[in-house]
Amino acid sequence: MDITTWSRPQMAGRLAADIPEGWCVNLGIGIPTMVADHVPLEREVIFHSENGVLGMGPAPPGDRIDPWLINAGKQHVTLRPGGAFVHHADSFAMIRGGHLDLCVLGAFEVAQNGDLANWATSENDTAPAVGGAMDLAAGAKRVWVMMEHTTKEGRSKLVRRCSYPLTALGCVRRVYTNLAVLDVTADGFAVIDIAPGLSRDTLAARTDAPLRFV
């Protein structure tokens, strides 16, 4: 049975709509980066990149690339008026000191208690790349996850307990998937939005962790 799902741009748009003006936001490498394109420029959201860029703007046209200005994903970006450059310790002081209003991360698994696994796929992987994931997950005021609801094999990524190595304990506040938007509460996942036409039973069937519908 085919089910209705949100496309990635739709997920990004759904999440972007929840970001109010004035927030300082870090978008993780990968899908979360798409969120920026869905925040209209006139709604001033200050994007942070962990390599020391605060007030990051969209990618420049190809003929206007500034080779010294990249984001954490090493893509060329721009700086908005009002932006500033800082060094790595100062940049991570912003992250770790709780100054980011929001960090949006991808994930392998999110547990119903908010545990996040998004950096290593096995305890036996001895050289996984952590980058700034642990700092962001532990440091931002809010962590929202944006990910597919299930793996390619159909396994739920919203789990009772993470099986992959953790990035941080109990840090995730909200999850945006292609099927639903869920808050992490003291009583586990609470569904606050569901893809159009998708039934609660179907969503529950695709989800390992128990769901509350509010």
Binding site: E44, P81, A93, I95, G97
Partner: protein
Amino acid sequence: MIDKFVRDIASAMADIADGSTVLLGGFGPVGQPNQLIDGLIEQGARDLTVVANNAGNGRTGLAQLMELGRVRRIVCSFPRSANSTVFEELYRAGKIELEIVPQGTLAERMRAAGAGIGAFYTPTAYGTPLARDKETREIGGRQQVLEYALGGDVALIEAWQADRWGNLTYRESGRNFNPVMAAAARLTIAQTQHVAALGSLDPEAIVTPGIYVDRVVHVPYGDPRA
């Protein structure tokens, strides 16, 4: 549109609660948020813990706030100076608590609060009365003292230029504790001598990015000696 400028000092100060820990920028007369301190005196919050390098001079500013009985406790590196008489009287009368912290440890403890560091080890003060009863351990062959982060509920600071995102620059030695305190408090209020259009400050030379600043008041008072 983000606009952190507030119309007057009274609005900036409105919600400072009794019992707050207030970080006061400045070193000597330079970089002191004098008008914001007057605003705090006006506003009325009491039972305050004040963190500043000094314990006030003369009868104005911090000294006046203390003289009005609004400061329960002061954390500073240099309580006594030529005219710190208000502090001395209160202290001798047992009417104010004092925590003396080496100046570098004071700055570093606030930096830690701003950077999400719970505590750190430093060789400063090891073997002295200021490390009495503090935890110590040897690291890298040196005895070090465990010091805890020192954050504020409110920071009152002074800047040279500010834009509507709250980006700040300072002037010369007016920088001092101000950027450190801006990052260490949950609510940071800056008074600025100059207003800069958004985008007019050099992004390589912004010292306090707006992420650390909540409210800005334009106070073009001029010469700090005045």
